[in-house]
Subunit: 219 residues, 2 copies
């Protein structure tokens, strides 16, 4: 994970948790639960109630009801913090298995974020659609980014090719990249990059499993 | 991300970075670069040289050569920390687009970690293989976990179904879970869980893009 700028005082981890709280609150509303205490929300997320209250204090949310937080009110409040007023358009670079999976997985999940275009070089992919999203040749990148008003790129190309997309992404004026490849990418200040590498995380989980086993054997 | 136990003194973030350093070092070796300075490694990863040296100090690695770190020596050293002596077997629960993508993406990438079995309920998937990995019915979970000596579960089921796999995973004696669903899962102490939710990360990147735009408009 690399942070090139922090535009205000809300910590990255709080932003992540707000997104997670909102999903839990939506889930609760669907089940007919309209109010939640901070300790209930904390329990679901495996953190402390103090952490939940601190996060909500940071965004200026307060609740004086004895029934806990009103789920719908809190959902709207978090939405005002996290979401753009307009829908934010996303482009996917690389429509291999991972790009296709993410496109299909994501479609319809969040109304304020929308995957609107994909890019690849393979003749079998260019000109097709996945979950209603058209796939263009990477040669059309600059034009289609502008046509579709794309603000955020999800990079799911083969790792070897990842570096070649850095300059086009900068040139297109993109300000946010979610990088699924195993290659750390150097973007200039002002572009927010989140690295999301599966192998790193699998290796990390595997390490803790191994340590846990060594530890039990020693006992 | 939830940490249920920390088996030794190496911080989680250091473990992640060690995995990333190793991948960069392997990449350098492939390009014929045999030695790297800490500031070179730091530059590639967008961190400080002090951070790199601190991480390597934590694992007891020191280098007195003026040519920088010997890539192969450091790769082996990191391997001794991260890897199990034997191959660690992984099971994938949920062979939708995401499960299939991860299985195909991962196959052959790391010799010490191996996806050996997948589980689903759909008749179109049970009995098939993806990238050489057999897909079993979830009813066979306990048996196949034992047969294949699986230590780690990668959970890529639909989010709604995620909760139903917690007890079977506990019963099977699994000690590590990489959770791709949008649902936070409560596992007991002693099971290491890494949540890896795409929507949370996309929302986070989108938030920073939005803030960056608001900030530029104000100028």
């Amino acid at each position: 994970m690399s942070i090139n700028f922090v535009p205000n005082n809300i910590p990255e981890k709080t932003i992540e948790r707000l997104s997670e709280y909102r999903r839990t609150l939506l889930d609760c509303l669907n089940k007919g639960i309209t109010h939640l205490y901070s300790h209930t929300l904390a329990g679901i997320h495996g953190i402390t109630a103090v952490q939940v209250r601190r996060d909500l204090m940071l965004i200026g949310f307060s609740s004086d009801t004895k029934r806990g937080y009103d789920a719908q009110v809190l959902i709207d409040f978090i939405g005002n913090i996290l979401d753009d007023r307009n829908v934010m358009n996303i482009g996917v670079v690389g429509m291999g298995h991972l790009g296709q999976a993410v496109t299909q997985y994501f479609t319809g999940k969040r109304s304020k974020l929308k995957i609107v275009a994909a890019f690849d070089i393979a003749p079998t992919k260019v000109g097709t659609t996945v979950a209603g999203v058209p796939c263009y040749h990477i040669d059309e990148f600059q034009k289609k980014i502008k046509d579709h008003n794309i603000k955020l790129i999800l990079l799911s190309s083969p790792t070897d090719a990842a570096g070649s997309f850095v300059q086009p992404i900068i040139d297109a004026g993109i300000k946010g990249v979610l990088n699924f490849t195993s290659k750390p990418l150097n973007f200039p200040e002002g572009i927010y990059v989140e690295d999301y590498d599966i192998i790193t995380l699998l290796e990390k989980v595997a390490y803790f499993v191994k340590e846990c086993e060594l530890h039990s054997r020693k006992k």
